[in-house]
Amino acid sequence: MESSLTTATWFWLLVPMLGCVALSLITYFKDR
């Protein structure tokens, strides 16, 4: 049987977390 993480799981795991890293990166360059 083949199974993997559901799309919703990838979404809720990665979008908020990597989103926070991306926003920190953007504001880092903006505020410099």
Partner: protein, 489 residues
């Protein structure tokens, strides 16, 4: 499961403990006055501020609790981690810079109670006393729960007497905090943060490679139970909101806010934010992957205690020198939280009770020594509470986190953004927030199953607004706010 710890692991461990002591001694002469001892003379660089804030925040939960929850329930355990990331990011984005600037503008405040008193020009000292009491009360349990978790773990892994483990770990933490104060605590936290990060990258990658790659891991986990692969399985919206509400706690944690206050300049905040959030996100993802890979790795021979999944993988997968480092990283996670909490409690005793009430004219040298002695006194109280390994103190972590978040969170945020806020609003908010958390925790069923931080936070915020609108803050308070605001913009 039986863990065999070999001599190289013990040597690595001892080297780690000696290194922490050396850092404490190195900073012994850096504490000329109380500002140096409890806030490092506001001289932390962005990187050290970021990792020490992260390491102070993340306790043994990151390497034990979160992987354990993942191991037990699969992807539906991610929600606290998601909530915490959002909370930490918002705290860095909206609170860090303003708090750094305002604490300096407001009479060079060194502690959270000190800041609140100066912010609202409270001459009655009520705000200072109430907030310092909340800090001492919640930290007494929070700190001793960290000590219990650390000592329990090491008595298991090293087959060591619980009391001995407790006192060995306790003495090392007391020593470096006693000698080196805030700089020692921040620099040990910095190195401990790096150790935690490396450990949380090495262990899951090694486990996934041994299992046969990511696809093979998800296949194996799905074969055991497909619900492990879904973050939404068995979850309700109510449950998700309640778990994500942990993130609200950040705005009121005195040991984390102290890192914002101690940063070298407001200009360092963007760099610190980037480093801090990156560290946190990849650390959390590593912890999540560790517990998840553990489901596949131990599918034939499940662990009795899921919280030991990180340790089980560390000792099984890697050579004993690396295993020693990985085990030391768990102790690092525990110690970096306990030391920061000890120092904040000590600063509450010194700056918020001893100096204003007992010896207003005490010399700086005297205050530094009072701070040092308070570290020992508070640590002894925490060690005594932790003396019974079966006490229920571990269950009090969520209570303390929620208590701080609800009592101080809205007060800190509104004090930095709302010019019209008053002293009575702050005082009433702190009391309502703390009482809501305590009362909510005692009630059961229906809505009372929700994590108490959420109602506490909301009621505290409402109270601050309603009570503040009943009277006008003094002109001088508004003028100080305007002075801080000119620096924010």
């Amino acid at each position: 499961m039986d863990f065999t710890v070999e001599t190289p692991a013990i040597i690595t461990f001892v080297v780690y403990l000696i290194a922490m002591l050396a850092i404490g001694l190195y900073f012994y002469n850096s504490s000329g006055d109380l500002s140096d001892y409890i806030l490092g003379g506001r001289n932390l660089g962005g990187g050290v501020a970021a990792l020490s804030a992260g390491a102070s925040d993340m306790s043994g939960w990151l390497l034990l609790g979160l992987p354990g929850a993942m191991y037990a329930s699969g992807m539906s355990a991610i929600w606290i981690a998601v909530g915490l990331t959002l909370g930490a990011y918002l705290n860095w984005q909206f609170v860090a810079r303003r708090l750094r600037i305002y604490t300096e503008v407001a009479n060079d405040a060194l502690t959270l109670p000190d800041y609140l008193e100066s912010r609202f020009e409270d001459r009655s000292k009520a705000l200072r006393v109430i907030s310092a009491l909340v800090i001492l009360l919640f930290f007494a349990f929070y700190t001793s729960s960290g000590l219990v978790a650390g000592a329990k773990l090491f008595s298991t892994v090293f087959d060591m007497d619980y009391t001995l483990a407790l006192w060995v770990g306790g003495s090392v933490i007391i020593s470096y905090t006693f000698f080196g104060g805030f700089l020692a605590v921040s620099w040990t936290d910095f190195f401990q943060g790096i150790m935690m990060f490396c450990a949380l990258i090495i262990v899951p990658i090694a486990a996934i490679v041994i299992i046969g790659g990511w696809d093979e891991t998800t296949d194996q986990v799905g074969a055991i139970d497909t619900s492990y692969n879904s973050a939404l399985s068995g979850m309700t919206l109510f449950g998700i909101v309640s778990l994500m509400a942990w993130g609200l706690g950040y705005f009121g944690q005195p040991h984390i806010l102290a890192r914002f206050m101690g940063i070298r300049s407001a200009a360092e905040v963007p760099k610190a934010r980037l480093i801090g959030i990156t560290w946190m996100v990849f650390g959390l993802l590593g912890a999540i992957a560790t517990g998840y890979a553990g489901i596949a790795y131990f599918s034939d021979n499940p662990l009795e205690d899921g919280e030991l999944v990180f340790i089980a993988l560390s000792t099984l997968l890697t050579n004993p020198w690396v295993a020693g480092f990985l085990l030391a990283a768990i102790l690092a996670a525990v110690m970096s939280t306990v030391d920061s909490q000890l120092l904040v409690s000590s600063s509450a005793v010194t700056e918020d009770f001893y100096k204003p009430f007992l010896r207003p004219n005490a010399s700086e040298k005297e205050l530094v020594w009072v701070g040092r002695v308070s570290v020992i006194g508070i640590a002894l109280i925490a060690l005594l509470i932790a003396g019974d390994p079966d006490s229920r103190v571990l269950a009090l972590v969520s209570y303390a986190w929620g208590g701080f978040g609800a009592a101080f969170g809205p007060v800190v945020i509104l004090s930095l953004f709302w010019r019209r806020m008053t002293r009575n609003g702050a005082l009433a908010g702190i009391i309502v927030g703390a009482v809501t958390v305590v009362v909510w925790k005692q009630l059961e069923g229906g809505i009372f199953e929700m994590y108490e931080i959420l109602p506490g936070f909301v009621l505290c915020a409402l109270t601050v607004v309603v009570v503040s609108l009943m009277s006008e803050p003094p002109e001088s308070v508004k003028e100080t706010f305007d002075r801080a605001e000119r620096q924010w913009t």
